[in-house]
Symmetry: C2
Subunit: 302 residues, 2 copies
């Protein structure tokens, strides 16, 4: 492995790499759009890829929205993509339950997360519940807990995602289900600790699940989003991919590029997001295979 | 240090240890009472200690009640104690804010915890707030966060205790106060991960605070309850104790006895709680200086 990332700038190099890849896996923010603005040349680059029979897949660790809701954003930019090309950590979790765990029809999943996450899980034919615990009245006494929180063998998995409506009722139920039933799976959509939003940083799913990780002593959680192998395995299995001919495209070294490198797929950093060329070259911890100004650079090929 | 705990059973040994101690620090459950039943001989033993000018101090990691509420339980058993002899992790936290940090009059403490914890803090003359965030309507959107969660330099400390009414509003506010103000203290009443209640085990303060510990990268929390030195320092400072002549009395090896040993005070295990003589002798990790059937054994002295 080289200790320097190779810059794709002349058309021969760009074409050579383009030809060596069948599947491009994209992070969205900083690659496709920045907040609500489409990045220059993206529509043309995606169209070029489609014309050349490349598969394009879009991954996000946001577990709160359904793929349908995400698809609306792509549609608003008139991008040539299919809803099945979208892989969120919520869908990845649903896919894992259905196809990897072969989740039993007579069991239920307790979801500490949004309605979007529950919908993704139900859409693959798995029974999910938990939204009713977005209570408007928090527990007032231990009696309330005893009345409502009970072991339940019908709960075969607890799934935790980002949740602005998290409360102690959810924590105590999730804790009780996980610890009282040795076969109960403990899944987390994604391990991100915080997320930036406008000028804020706020706790994300990796923080929301922390009380359960602290309290549950006999079981480790399974994470489904980037940068885990579970995410790439779900994608690979669903599309029957040859990962040797796949490329992870992203703007962040510590998430997207680590995701690609951990899973032994080609990595391409774009400079249209948070990482500058200077920042890339002034570190030697994470060396993407290639870097490029932006997706627009592919449009030289035609 | 001996690798075997010494059993106090004959009157000469009991009297020798009794005479070497000025201050007995008691854990309550398993020592004074079991749930709502007073343990045999406790009233007489405490009366004997008072008669011999021993100081008796009662410590609990429960942060949810005020000392006044705790005192009612002692009074119901007609025990000869003073409200100032009670040291809960809530009071310890209040004491630390007032006497160790010398918390400024013009600053406020954001409390993620119960009304009892807030009252203890206010009772030492420190401004506390947060109870109003026991909202009946959880956040519905990120807009709600932006409208309500803002950095606030008047917040000089965030205190986290056990809280059945925890929610994302509290987490996001606590996170924002701690991270936006470098001088903001980050205190936790006690580090207990779970607590047993009836036939249940549920997440305690150490779990409730876990999202903040995960998300806050630039600051470590300070814990105030057992088994920290902060708890013993607060007790020692308030009563001006000679710790060489103090003894921690408890029924648990991994909390009470560790608390005493970590802080270099004499340790005495009673067999009226969770630890049996067999369990004590069949391990060699935590060796209390002494062990005794129960407080009733002291009544041989007269």
């Amino acid at each position: 492995m080289s200790n320097k990332s190779f810059k794709l700038e002349n058309i021969n190099d760009i074409k050579r790499v383009f030809d060596s890849i069948d599947t491009f896996i994209f992070d969205c923010d900083g690659v496709i759009w920045r907040a609500n603005n489409l990045i220059k040349g993206v529509k043309e680059a995606l169209t070029l890829m489609k014309k050349n029979n490349k598969r394009t897949i879009f991954v996000t660790n946001n577990s709160t929205k359904t793929r349908e809701e995400y698809f609306k954003k792509f549609s608003s930019f008139d991008l040539p993509i299919d809803i099945n090309d979208i892989f969120s950590s919520a869908y990845s979790t649903a896919y894992y339950l259905r196809n990897v765990l072969d989740f039993p029809k007579d069991k239920r999943v307790y979801v500490l997360g949004t309605q979007g996450l529950i919908k993704e899980i139900e859409d693959v034919g798995v029974n999910a519940f938990g939204y009713e615990d977005n209570i408007t009245e928090p527990f007032a006494s231990e009696e309330d807990i005893f009345n409502e929180v009970k072991p339940d063998d019908s709960v075969g998995a607890v799934v935790v995602g980002f949740d602005m409506k998290v409360n102690y009722k959810k924590y105590s139920k999730a804790y009780t289900y996980i610890t009282s039933n040795p076969d109960c799976h403990f899944l987390v959509t994604n391990s991100d600790i915080t997320y930036p939003v406008q000028n804020f940083v706020l706790p994300e799913a990796g923080s929301v699940v922390a009380p359960l990780i602290a309290a549950v002593k006999n079981k480790e959680p399974v994470f489904l989003g980037k940068p885990t192998a579970n995410m790439i395995n779900c994608i690979s299995q669903k599309f029957n991919l040859d990962l040797k001919r796949a490329c992870m495209v992203g703007d962040r070294l510590d998430t997207d590029m680590v995701f690609g490198k951990n899973n032994n797929i080609t990595t391409l950093l774009v400079l249209t997001g948070v990482t500058s060329e200077e920042a890339l070259l002034n570190q030697d911890k994470i060396i993407p295979d290639y870097y490029i100004e932006g997706l627009n650079s592919f449009n030289q090929i035609q």
